[in-house]
Amino acid sequence: MMYYFFLVISIALVITALLSIYFRDLLAAIVSYSVFSLVLTVLYFLLDAPDVAIAEAGIGAALTTCIFVIAIRMTRRREE
Amino acid sequence: MNILQVEYLHWAPLFWLGIFIGLAVVVVIIGKLFFRNDYNTVDQQSLPFYSGTSNSLLQLITASSLYWGFKHTLDAYFLMIKRLFISDVEDFIQWFIIIVAGMLLILTGVLW
């Protein structure tokens, strides 16, 4: 039962990671990374690590995205 | 085990220091005795002799032209170094990965 959960979530992880590398629009890449972090949070929760899940949700999904967006705002949005 | 017992000489730094100081004293004494004190520091005597040119710009050999012969001889080597290490950010991780892979191959004995 858990195996299928892990499989689905792993596929989602790899896809979001690939997408966040693939997008040349940095904002899209970062939104994709945010989704990646959220999926990782769910995975941590399924792996019985609620402490890590809360930290990943707070830091990985929210704050990292936030500072990335600020950094992009100060530089430029697209890769050249 | 005396690790500084070198095969041909004994490492006695104070002895060597004494010799150095003695030599320096001898040089100073010889200089005082035999060289002129009224060495002219105003005119061209103080400037380096540079193949007869009077162009003051050429009196200083710049640092980048100091070992030009060495550089010129080893041009192929330096160009290879320059091509191998481009000093980019991706260059660092590239060499890191290559060394890790090579070490894995060597240390785990896959190669032999």
Binding site: - | I3, P13, L60, A63, I81, F92, M103, I106, L107, T108
Partner: protein, 508 residues
Amino acid sequence: MIKHVPVLLVAIPLLAAFMIPMIGMVNRTARTVVGVIALVMILAASYYIAGDILVHGRILYYMVGSSNPEMLTEHGLTFPIRIGLKIDPFSLFFIIMTTTLVLIFYVFSTQYIEENERKNYFTVLFITMVAGMMGLLVANDLFTFFVFLEILSISSAALVAFRTERKHPPYAGYKYMFVSAVATSFFLLGVAFLYAQYGSFNIDYLKEAIRGTLLDKIAIVLLIIPLAMKSGVVPMHMWIPDTYSEAPAPISAMVKLGSLICLYGLFRISFSFGMSHAHVSYPLGVLFIVFGILSMFVGVTQALVQKDVKRLMAFHAVSQVGYMLLGMGVGLTVVKSGDASFALFGKVAMIGGLLHVVNNALYKGLLFLTSGVMVRHFKTRNLDAMHGLAHYDVFTTVVFMIAALAISGIPPFNGFVSKIIIYESVFQYNPVLTLIAIFVSILTLASFMKVFYSAFLGMPSSRRPMEQPVLVKCSMFVLAVFIVVIGIYPQGILKAIIEPAVNALINF
């Protein structure tokens, strides 16, 4: 109180660093003084334990948070459960070197870096960098090692980018952080592989437990190569000139010291995990020798053609690491061979390598400090534009001469001692290696002739001479005195500190 020294070495700088922002708001002099007090305290602590460890052969263990911190395992267990700290003669050697040099560099920076509100942050980062170094040196736990490696890396990276108003330093800081992040990530991966098998992070415990399986070998590679990268071994050295040359002079010296401490981690991990089996230690030693020869040769040939004085010195930093790797590598190669070759020359090679560490830290630090003075005087790093410093600044000239002769291995100074020990012992292993080492030494002398010729000799420049502040002169003078004293009387440091250190490393 002596039993608490291992943790105090880390905790005192951290406490000072945490208080400095609050103090700095009130009074800037008080902030500088607090930094000096913290550094002097750890210096005193390190000398305080030196006698006990070196003379009586005692090894200090400390389990942080345990009810009996000197007891390795609690409640009759066979494995440690808390974070272990440990000071044995090998780490004590590095601790004494670090605490001494760090105080000198700090004193240099108090008058070298201009005084404004930004210097509060500079001081904080400097002190945390010291705390990171101390944590690395006392850690007996792989994850603690990782955490303090991060502390060292992050504070160094920020300090490398200190002059943000100039063009290149931010990118240099980025490069430093990139290299550190790669290194620490892979280091953590290696830790994970060891934890997965043995369920512990304690280096002593892992050393006993390690079995030499495939996973162990992968883990050893993943632990060693990041540290080699952090200490700038060819072919992973190109970040060194890029970062060292952009940092302010005391920070260049500090970052150099940090990379020597990564070299400490490299030696400790390779000697504790690699020595359990001869089929690991022999190829590891050979690889050390190969990396050492490569570092020496590539570093020095690249240094010879530089025009930028700080890049030239940074390439020499790469080249000098090669000597240490050569000495230690010869020792590691023969340590498990079972015949008399280790007693004959292997141990001497290791002694030479370790002596070269402290010598290199001394004269390299002095060279970086003098380069700071030169750059400040000429307002450029280009050697072509420099000439005639000797006309004004006799003190800097003499000090630079001492350092340059020491790094080239000219007899009355300390570089000669360690180099001749390495030559003599490596010659018995393989004469070709000694020939290469001597050749590299000659090239080193040639490149420093170039610096001396172009920066100090020649026409006096039209720029007004600048008198150096007294603390700047003092710190440079103390370093020069150390160089001369170790050169004239090396037996003292060899017998008192380095031989116990090598013995501890072998029997570790």
